[in-house]
Symmetry: C2
Subunit: 343 residues, 2 copies
DNA sequence: GTGAAAGCGCTAACAA
DNA sequence: TTGTTAGCGCTTTCAC
């Protein structure tokens, strides 16, 4: 692999001069610059960022660790983060923890050893310990989607409590009375938050929210199928189901269909997430949309602020985005098209 | 940031000894090991992989550059590659070029400067030049999904020519006769390949494949809407449309619905890709499925073989996967459920 | 405008 | 079993 020394030798200059040319610094005479440039091209010299990183103690690299790469929400987050990172002159290292704490720890370890300039993390659970153990304390962290009680860090999240509350009102307005909410992981704050919004909506209308209609599970497809199995095995069947996220909603739909239930005629289904793209499909999913792209951007911006010497010591900031109800047809809505943003 | 020297000083040993302990080497006495280990934990020492990488001239890092992170196919590829990389003790750096050559070049540049051990690339176009200019020649490349004529490298791809051929036969069997194919980029080999399969199927049945039914476009949602607009503006409306990938299919569906066409009653729609997850939605999309996960795994395996000194000089290998027809209901199929793999 | 020299943090070869 | 030394490829003073 061509090194800076080799270029220097070939061009008859010192490594410093090559370095100056390679980084487009001004204090080089035109004639030298051209000569060096020619040798660089000739030898296909590509600067070694590993060596540079060692010297400069910064990498120009940030990491984003998400928990589910197949989720439209986290995909949107990744796109937003990527664009913002590029804007800021940083590269983005993406990792996928699959909602697995061990895997998360491994990624954090690798990320930390590589001395990235910062980390955007969707934490898998409530144990900041592993986090602290895997990452050098100097590396700034921005938490995304989920805060970590007792852990001081910037947070970007979405107020899905209110979102779920509004969704609950919507379902009640459609006449649903036996509403279930399913599929979130109890040790991830977004689940109790959504349950709280759901309960508040029902309470406000004096509708019962029996505990057997609140079914936790994994934040994935199986979590949805499992929950529906439990629901259908119980005495009273719900007339609407809120899935904790898009993956869960798919599992819910799978299992309802398998059980011969029609959606929305027999059971309405709604979810909380960024929308899956399908549009012309019937029914269109009613959902509470989280602005993933914007959240990814915001996380990078918080991180960039932390990278400045001035931002180092600032107190942690929290950026909270609003969720938006997108009305589809999956809960028996008849007023199709009055909010057609799902396309 | 705690360095190895600092640990050594505190523990009263040499840096080498710390290094040995940190890497779990055997030739350290138990008592020393314990003492050093204690200091490591105390000082939260995390080895600097940048320095190690500089010394060892290998990073344990490979990069995967995909063109569309919202595509279910590439998402599956990423998951497969990630699992295989972890299996092989490598970390995966993920990048998203958005089908943009400039962005691709930038990523390759960053990746190359970081001296990753290898690159898995979904090339955006047919210009290997930029590729060669952005990446040190020593870094092995595996091309994924698309080969690059005239560029010698391992390739993992899927035979979508045959897949599209079989899909064509399926559509003909359903009685469709005015079949269009839309939305692929002419300078990406997967498009002509799919068109060829389509044409072969029609030819075999003596059905015309008029050029105005072959409409290229961008490999994204807009490509689909655009194509449908063109199709509908033309004289004769197709009775079935093959979308070049899942994103395009969504655009096609969008625009058909907007134009008041029912799917599948007025126009059938099929696509080529990994499946989007939605299942209970009606219609379910008929599609030719590419095994993204397996392809990602295979790409990493090829790369790993190249990393061995023995594999360096081996001639390029090509791994071709088969595509599978998954029958849904979006083309007017009545035999629902005889191939229900789309769930 | 250019070069010499030191050093970032680590590991590998060698010596003790 | 442990330590010493050199050097990976670069940037950064500091001279000239």
């Amino acid at each position: 692999m061509t090194s800076i020394e080799e270029v220097a030798r070939q061009a008859g200059v010192s490594p410093s001069t090559v370095s100056r040319v390679a980084r487009n610094q001004t204090n080089v005479s035109t004639v030298t610059r051209e000569r060096v440039q020619r040798v660089i091209t000739e030898l296909k010299y590509i600067p070694n960022a590993v060596a540079r990183g060692l010297k400069q103690a910064r990498s120009g690299l940030i990491a984003l660790l998400i928990t589910d790469i197949t989720s439209p929400f986290f995909t949107a987050v990744a796109r937003g983060a990527e664009d913002a990172a590029r804007e800021a002159g940083l590269s983005l290292l993406l990792g996928n923890s699959e909602e697995d704490s061990d895997l998360e720890a491994k990624y954090l370890r690798v990320i930390g050893e590589r001395r990235v300039d910062g980390v955007i993390l969707v934490p898998t659970n409530q144990a900041p310990n592993s986090l602290v153990r895997s990452l050098p304390p100097e590396i700034p962290i921005v938490l995304l989607d989920r805060s970590l009680p007792g852990f001081k860090a910037d947070v970007v999240r979405c107020d899905t409590r209110t979102g779920t509350f509004v969704l609950g009102q919507h379902l009640l307005g459609l006449g649903h009375r036996r509403i279930a909410i399913v599929g979130g992981m109890p040790n991830i704050p977004t689940w109790p938050e959504r349950v709280a919004g759901y309960q508040a909506a029902l309470r406000e209308s004096g509708v019962a929210a029996p505990p057997e209609f609140v079914i936790p599970g994994d934040y994935n497809r199986d979590g949805g199928t499992e929950a529906v199995r439990v629901l259908l095995a119980q005495g009273e069947r719900p007339d609407a189901i809120i899935a904790a996220n898009a993956q869960v909603a798919l599992g819910v739909l799978d299992e309802l269909v398998a059980a011969g239930c029609r959606v929305p005629e027999d059971v309405g289904v709604a979810t909380i997430d960024d929308p899956f793209p399908p549009s012309a499909f019937v029914p269109r999913l009613t959902l509470v949309e989280q602005p993933g792209y914007g959240m990814g951007e915001a996380a990078v911006q918080l991180l960039v602020a932390r990278l400045e010497p001035a931002g180092r010591a600032e107190p942690p900031r929290e950026v909270v985005f609003e969720a938006t109800l997108r009305i589809g047809t999956s809960c028996g809505e008849t007023t199709i098209g009055h909010d057609d943003v799902m396309r």
